[in-house]
């Protein structure tokens, strides 16, 4: 491989890292500003915003609430999305295009429209606003992303494997669980990260389908009404550090798992 190319590419990569991280660093920095507003110049620093957050039970419970919603919605999306992907990938049948079209639909509807449509539909179905309704809306909204990612991976599964397993008498369910599913694990992990992100960051659906307990973005929007304060930045930083920690732990964990299975 050409050395110059390689160096050039790595420069592009690190420039990109810089681009995505600079706003992040500014955000973290502002969480320590001793003022009610973010921005330069910073005249004095404080830790009060952080002590305030950890003293405020509401903010902490909001974090937990958002995380619980994201995890539940992701589990549902992954299960449903994988099922749909298995049905659609590599099979030709009447109405396949129509089902595929309907599958990706929720990802394409603008946020506010989808939120109101969900709200009307929830009422029609008799779903009470609250955690259940938010989980439901997030799950439905995220299914298309799972389907797309899983289908892409599924299309590269060597057919010979499944055929061989069937020849040896494995029924479809066992063949799926023993061959297809393990092969899909990277795609499912990737899709899960995606779903968690989408759900954790969703404001408009959470707002319309929520009850009296706010999710994190809903709380942030409400606080924004009285100004973008360092407090909001501090909350976002705490959320970021927690999720990054979980992410790194998960990465380590899967790596160790891989090693163990290899050994």
């Amino acid at each position: 491989m050409n050395r110059g190319n390689r160096i050039l590419l790595s420069c592009v990569y690190w420039a990109f890292v810089l681009y995505v991280f600079v706003p992040l660093i500014l955000m973290i920095l502002m969480g320590f500003k001793d003022s009610k507003f973010i921005g330069f110049p910073i005249k004095s620093w404080t830790l009060d915003w952080y002590t305030g957050i950890f003293a405020d039970a509401e903010i902490l419970s909001t974090l937990g609430y958002s995380a619980a919603i994201a995890v539940l919605a992701t589990l549902i999306s992954v299960a449903v999305g994988t099922w749909i992907a298995v049905l659609l990938e590599g099979r030709k049948f009447w109405g396949r295009t129509a089902i595929f079209g309907m599958t990706v639909l929720p990802a394409l509807v603008p946020g506010i429209i989808s939120a109101i449509a969900f709200r009307i539909y929830a009422r029609y179905l008799g779903i009470e606003p609250g955690m259940g309704a938010i989980v439901w809306a997030h799950a439905v909204h995220n299914v298309p992303f799972v389907v797309l990612v899983v289908m892409a991976r599924l299309s590269t599964l060597p057919k010979s494997q499944l055929e061989a397993a069937r020849d040896l008498g494995a029924d479809p369910i066992i063949a799926f669980l023993r061959i297809t599913l393990p092969y899909l694990v990277p795609a499912i992990l990737g899709a899960s990260i995606f779903c968690l992100l989408l759900s954790f960051d969703d404001f408009v659906r959470s707002f319309f389908l929520g009850g009296y307990e706010p999710t994190l973005p809903v709380l942030i929007f409400a606080k924004l009404k009285s100004g973008m304060s360092p407090e909001i930045n501090a909350i976002a930083t705490v959320a970021l550090v927690l999720t990054a920690a979980i992410g790194i732990w998960a990465e380590r964990f899967t790596r160790r798992m891989n090693k163990d299975t290899k050994a």
Binding site: F93, V109, L148, P158, R178, L197
Partner: protein, 328 residues
């Protein structure tokens, strides 16, 4: 994946199902399970129906339902219906769009912006994905990818305000440029198409990066080596080998980014200027202002939706043609 792996997998299944000592073996020998399987797999047709019934019900009730509600609302003259008011069927809401030019400008602007930003995102992220997939050892790929994902855990709004304090007149960028003596007066970056672009690419990069990465990652490195052995230069190798083989990733990334960016609301509103109004903003206006504007908002959303869909279909056709042309 190779034949070797396949045969290992089959050996696995082979061993477990026959010996019957493992969980899987016991399960497949357990008579209620066998009876169930017998029912399920009685014929390929029944097997397919059982596989298909749940996804079909799900997409019909969960995916199509809310959309149909929206289309229904777009065809009425009043929603939500006040007591004592009768609701009528009407096409006026659609006529309103086609009858008034002031709506066309944000509409076409949105489509053009979405296309432009999609292209920018592609140009920016392709080398990043390429570097990740081809030059980072497999062991570290996940880590490098996760590194890029970290900033996306910060909500859209907080991130957008962070961009404001990056690009503002007293923002970080102007401060740096001034202290380096490159400029005397701050450059007004904010509230222009530039600041909007910076914000939007931030939002879309992820959706482009992942499909590109998975397409590039699948590409066997040996292809490139073979081409190099034949004396092809780096650029030729890229154009003749890598690009055509990743066109599927490019196509799905662009489709995703294009469709999603037509729906962006908060970021363009916060970072854009007086002349960058998007159609999503127009639509949201109908839902914020007054109750009886819901049908108009719903109609406009339907129009936007179908326009984006048609453009995507054209784009996909184009990409397919390109791919076929290349393999010839």
């Amino acid at each position: 994946m190779s034949n070797e792996a396949a045969s290992r997998a089959t050996q696995d299944v082979d061993a477990h199902t026959r010996v019957g000592r493992t969980f899987w073996g016991r399960l497949s020998n357990w008579s209620p399970y066998r009876a169930l399987m017998g029912l399920v797999t009685a014929s390929p047709r029944r097997q397919f129906l059982i596989l298909a019934i749940f996804p079909l019900l799900w997409v019909l009730t969960q995916h199509l339902g809310p959309m149909l509600q929206m289309v229904r609302v777009s065809l009425t003259d009043a929603y939500p219906v006040a007591p004592g008011v009768e609701q009528h069927f009407t096409l006026d809401n659609y006529a309103r769009f086609f009858g008034d030019q002031i709506f066309w400008q944000p509409f076409f602007r949105t489509l053009i912006f979405a296309g432009g930003f999609t292209f920018c995102t592609l140009i920016l992220t392709y080398p990043v994905a390429y570097f990740l997939a081809r030059h980072v050892s497999r062991k570290n790929q996940m880590l490098f990818l996760l590194l890029l994902l970290i900033p996306f855990w910060v909500g859209e709004i907080v991130r957008t305000y962070a961009i404001m304090i990056l690009l503002g007149n007293t923002g970080a960028l102007n401060l740096v440029l001034q202290s380096l003596g490159l400029i005397d007066r701050p450059i007004p970056f904010m509230y222009t198409s530039f600041s909007m672009g910076v914000g939007i690419v931030y939002l879309t990069a992820l959706y482009m990066l992942l499909p590109l990465y998975s397409a590039l990652e699948k590409l066997p490195r040996s292809y490139n080596e073979a081409a190099a052995d034949l004396g092809a230069g780096a650029w030729t190798r890229f154009r003749r080998v890598t690009l055509p083989l990743t066109i599927e990733g490019i196509s799905s990334g662009c489709t995703l980014v294009f469709l999603i960016s037509t729906g962006f609301y908060a970021t363009p509103v916060l970072l854009g200027g007086p002349s960058t109004t998007t159609f999503a903003e127009t639509i949201a206006g109908f839902f914020h202002v007054a109750g009886d504007e819901w049908p108009t908002g719903a109609a406009f959303a339907t129009i936007m939706f179908f326009a984006a869909l048609v453009l995507t279909a054209v784009f996909q056709k184009l990409m397919n043609a390109l791919r076929k042309g290349d393999t010839k």
